[in-house]
């Protein structure tokens, strides 16, 4: 684990090092750390673990930038430290009285400008590259709401929430729609962020390069539970993705006898006003589609693990679990909660 290594290295440093050396050392050490990319499997670490086309392109630019920045850092800070040591006050030293050096100043203006042009050109190339919509992309509409994500698979005619499933190797084209305030869709290991602005349909193109489970979250401050507006992207091999799609396209199976009471509560209670379950009368779209809820790992903006205990806690008082949740506390009895949880957990 990187954090563990960091702790050891950090503690090994003698504490009585002179502070300037400590500072320079610590900064260099941080740079080494940036390059090293040890063994920590950071779920949102875009510095070391890119697995998507955009993340990789961005990282290629970063690698060049950080290298140049590191050289400039060492040279300029080195000159500063050298000047401080070399020209520190000593008895008898006379300060040289000069006002400038025009040639040197022109050179020191032009050199950074040239370096910056060198960084700018590949950067602009990549900006246009990422904005270009690829052929044969999978179309998905993402609708951002306080505080969860709705996914409409336009090619397959079904909807799901918070957990996005995509095939590896095939480009995806997300159309991002805002329903209330500004949000931002971000899966660090796959792609940089794209804001979701109400009134604008933004787009995001990327391709997952490796199968895996990628965590992300809303990145534009959007209110009380901004921190709890998370998401997961599952990148499957194509055949596995097709299997998942065909499962999701099915309506919910009719309830077995032991969960029928839960379904009755759902359809006759407040739930039906906001949620949809395909194959039943529930068809509202202001809250997550629950048709295949039990096939998901998480709920509540991909913040809570989906299990009976968590779901029961949620139904008892959603805003207590997730501040600002638009689903209020309906004052359900313990018995009602149990029945609803049993029904919801049967929706696989």
């Amino acid at each position: 684990m990187r954090t563990y290594i960091f702790r050891l290295e950090f503690m090994r440093r003698p504490s009585n090092t002179r502070s300037r050396r400590f500072y320079v050392g610590a900064t260099l050490f941080a740079l080494v750390l940036l390059f090293a990319g040890c063994a920590n499997n950071g779920p949102q670490d875009f510095l070391n673990y890119q697995a998507g086309s955009n993340a990789e392109k961005a990282d290629n630019l970063w690698d060049v930038t950080i290298l140049i920045a590191a050289v400039i850092f060492v040279v300029v800070e080195g000159l500063l430290v050298f000047a401080l040591v070399r020209f520190r006050h000593k008895p008898g030293r006379e300060a040289a009285q000069f006002h400038g050096n025009t040639k040197l100043e022109i050179v020191l203006t032009l050199v950074p400008a040239l370096i910056l042009i060198g960084l700018l050109i590949p950067s602009i190339k990549t900006i246009f590259d990422i904005a270009h919509k690829p052929e044969g992309a999978l179309e998905i509409t993402v609708t951002a709401r306080q505080f969860w994500w709705q996914y409409d698979y336009d090619d397959f005619d079904f909807a799901t929430a918070n957990e996005l499933h995509i095939p590896v190797g095939q480009p995806v084209h997300l159309t991002l729609k805002g329903a209330d305030v500004i949000h931002s869709y971000w899966i660090p290991r796959l792609s940089g962020t794209q804001d979701v602005v109400p009134g604008h349909n933004n787009e995001l193109n990327f391709t997952a390069l490796e199968p895996g489970r990628y965590m992300g979250q809303c990145k534009e401050f959007c209110g009380l539970s901004h921190a709890n507006m998370r998401l997961i992207v599952f990148a499957h091999p194509p055949a596995e993705f097709q299997t998942w799609v065909s499962e999701q396209q099915k309506p919910a199976a009719p309830p077995s006898a032991d969960v029928a009471e839960g379904q009755k509560l759902f359809l006759e209670g407040a739930c039906i006003n906001c949620h949809a379950i395909q194959g039943t009368d529930a068809a509202a779209t202001t809250a997550p589609d629950l048709t295949h809820l039990a096939s998901r790992e998480t709920f509540g903006g991909a913040t809570f693990e989906l299990n009976e205990a968590n779901l029961a806690e949620w139904l008892a008082d959603p805003p207590a679990m997730k501040p600002g949740s638009l689903m209020p506390d309906y004052g359900l009895s313990q018995d009602e909660i149990t029945k609803l949880v049993d029904y919801l957990m049967s929706l696989d």
């Binding site: 950071g42 779920p43 949102q44 955009n54 970063w62 534009e220």
Partner: protein, 621 residues
């Protein structure tokens, strides 16, 4: 009643205040030096408050799933931390030092409009208190300092209405100050002090003032729109009614990016005074450093959309703003090279002001480099809204502006109070500040690149962020402890009161040519300036003939009494009406009598301005 000679009536609405000392002496003063001290003292108080908010934030984030603050408290705290540090700390500290030292450094007796100057201070104070009163009136602003619509228009409670009106009031103070400083610098320079003999701090103050003059109206428009959306159900930013959320972002950042330079340029000016003094050399490349400052001031208007790379402006706009953002690094780099050149070949005295200035340069280099990395748009889409950004702007605004300003405080303290802050504790303060700063914000670079987003009140376990966040919190407390050292230093040094003398650092500029503390009229004789760093040449020989002092009262060598502007109640009174009117707007839908409160507040301010106009600037004697 006009007198027979036709002069204006000499009687104002109120009897003229006469107190020169005590509470009323301070409250009615129009002396730029007292106002400067009040500005800095108030801003340092708010620095403590904003710092406590930061500590609460860091405690909450010290470990995953923290439970120190609720989500609601966290959002109020990070919003108020940002607003406080920007509008109530860094800006007023810069303005406070400009207030005290612009007239002294250009050889003037006061600013151009002394009562307007007092008005700026009082409006700043009531604006800050108004903003903080929100904590006791239903909750503080909780939509971020950037206040993005439509979240800012839709958040419940009065918090973001306090934001729209509080910043509006503070903007009035900034505008009045900007006008005053510009006119003071242009019109009140001592004889012989041409523009290219101005100290760099004065140049940077002037650029800052022009930025304020043009930036504050932009945010004023946006804040009025936000106020109307919130209090009077307008729809400027409501997409459902044809409004445009991005309008807010363009206006906010068109103000917001020049604002960054408003905060950093005064500190760059301070450092450009301190480095030559302690290296005992003239500044390297004076013209380049002045032009670079002006270039930053101009180019700063063309980079605002780099705050909006992720909103979907399209590849063309993003490329253009990537280019402008890259190139604003060029004048910034020029300044850094010039500071290095100033140290080069010098005879460097390691006093506390120098340490803070060198700290500024060292940290600003890091902030500048990370700033360039934001211009790599595809990677900015990763960095934006992560702790990498938080790291960057704290290197620029804390490592930059705050270090520069503390350098200035240590540097000018003996001039202001006549006694010096202790060197030992001052150096301890610096090193703790420096180490704490790097621990807190240095590690944020890494945790940001590991994907930790900002403005989140909590984070789960297993993200790989726990340990670094914990160390960041230790760093924050190190900074807090260093501020305790600073306060202890003030108390101990005040008890000792070791006389500093008029020129304790063997400095270069005119403020050191008068006594410490300076007399109310600053200079017994207005200096005649022949050189850049005129005071240095007076001490160490000038190629020109010895300066001819101008005797107070006129250039004819005929000594007269020095007329200074007289104290006045009206600037303070005028400021009081603004928050009253603002409360009326905030509680417009709660109070049936709210229109009366709005009208009453505005009428109070108007009457105070009438009293101000009728009162002559200088009382009869």
């Amino acid at each position: 009643m006009a007198t027979a000679t036709g002069s204006l009536p000499r009687r104002g609405l109120l009897a003229r205040p006469t107190a020169k000392t005590g509470v009323w002496g301070w409250m009615t003063t129009v002396d730029h030096k007292k106002i400067g001290i009040m500005y800095c003292a108030t801003a340092l108080f708010f620095f403590g408050v904003g710092g406590l908010e930061a500590l609460a934030i860091r405690l909450q984030l010290a470990q995953p799933n923290g439970e120190v603050l609720t989500a609601s408290q966290y959002n109020q705290f990070f919003t108020m931390h940002g607003l406080t540090m920007i509008f109530l700390v860094v800006m007023p500290l810069g303005v406070g030092l400009m207030n005290y030292f612009i007239p002294l450094m250009i050889g003037a007796r006061d600013v151009a409009f002394p009562r307007l100057n007092a008005f700026s201070y009082w409006v700043f104070l009531v604006g800050g208190l108004f903003l903080y009163s929100s904590f006791f009136l239903g909750g503080a602003p909780d939509g971020g300092w950037f206040g993005y619509a439509p979240l800012s228009t839709s958040l419940p409670g009065h918090g973001m209405t306090f934001y729209s009106l509080g910043l509006q009031i503070l903007g009035v103070a900034s505008l009045a100050g900007a006008v005053n400083f510009i006119i003071t610098i242009i019109n009140m320079r001592a004889p012989g002090m041409t523009f290219f003999k101005l100290p760099v701090f004065i140049w940077m103050s002037m650029v800052t003032s022009f930025l304020l003059l043009f930036a504050m109206p932009v945010i004023a428009v946006a804040l009025f729109q936000l106020m109307f959306d919130r209090a009077f159900e307008a729809n400027f930013f409501n997409p459902a009614a044809g409004g445009e959320p991005l309008l807010w972002q363009h206006l906010f950042w068109l103000f917001g990016h020049p604002e960054v330079y408003i905060m950093i340029l005064p500190a760059m000016g301070i450092v450009s005074e301190i480095l030559p003094t302690f290296a005992r050399k003239p500044i390297f490349g004076y013209a380049a450093i002045v032009f670079a400052g002006a270039a930053i001031g101009i180019m700063g208007w063309g980079v605002w959309a780099h705050h909006m790379f992720a909103v979907g402006l399209g590849p063309v706009a993003n490329s253009v703003f990537a280019a402008t953002t890259m190139f604003i690094a060029v004048p910034t780099g020029v300044k850094i090279f010039n500071w290095l050149g100033t140290l080069w070949g010098g005879d460097i005295r390691f006093k506390t002001p120098l340490l803070f200035s060198v700290g500024f340069v060292a940290l600003f280099i890091i902030g500048g480099l990370s700033g360039v990395s934001h211009a790599i748009v595809p990677h900015d889409a990763q960095q934006t809204d992560t702790y990498y950004i938080v790291a960057h702007f704290h290197y620029v605004l804390f490592g930059g502006a705050i270090f520069g300003i503390f350098g200035g405080i240590y540097y000018w303290w003996p001039k202001v109070f006549g006694w010096t802050l202790g060197e030992g504790l001052g150096k301890l303060h610096f090193w703790l500040f420096f180490i704490g700063m790097n621990l807190t914000f240095g590690l944020m670079h890494i945790v940001g690149l590991q994907g930790q987003p900002r403005r989140t009140y909590t984070y789960p376990e297993g993200m790989g962020w726990d340990f670094l966040n914990f160390i960041e919190t230790i760093g924050a407390f190190t900074i807090a402890f260093s501020m305790v050292v600073f306060l202890v230093n003030i108390v101990i040094s005040k008890a000792k009161r070791e006389a500093a003398g008029d020129d304790p650092w063997d400095a270069r500029t005119l403020e050191w040519a008068t006594s410490s503390p300076p007399p109310e009229h600053n200079f017994d004789t207005i200096p005649q300036v022949h050189e850049r760093d005129d005071f240095w040449y007076r001490k160490y020989g000038s190629p020109h003939e010895q300066p001819q002092p101008v005797i107070a009262g006129g250039a004819d060598g005929h000594e007269e009494h020095i007329h200074l502007p007289s104290p006045s109640y009206f600037p303070m009174f005028a400021s009081f009406g603004l928050p009253v009117a603002a409360y009326g707007v905030i509680f417009f839908s709660d109070w049936s009598f709210a229109p009366l409160v709005i009208g009453g507040g505005l009428l109070w301010t108007l009457l105070s301005l009438v009293g101000w106009v009728l009162e002559p600037g200088t009382a009869d004697e």
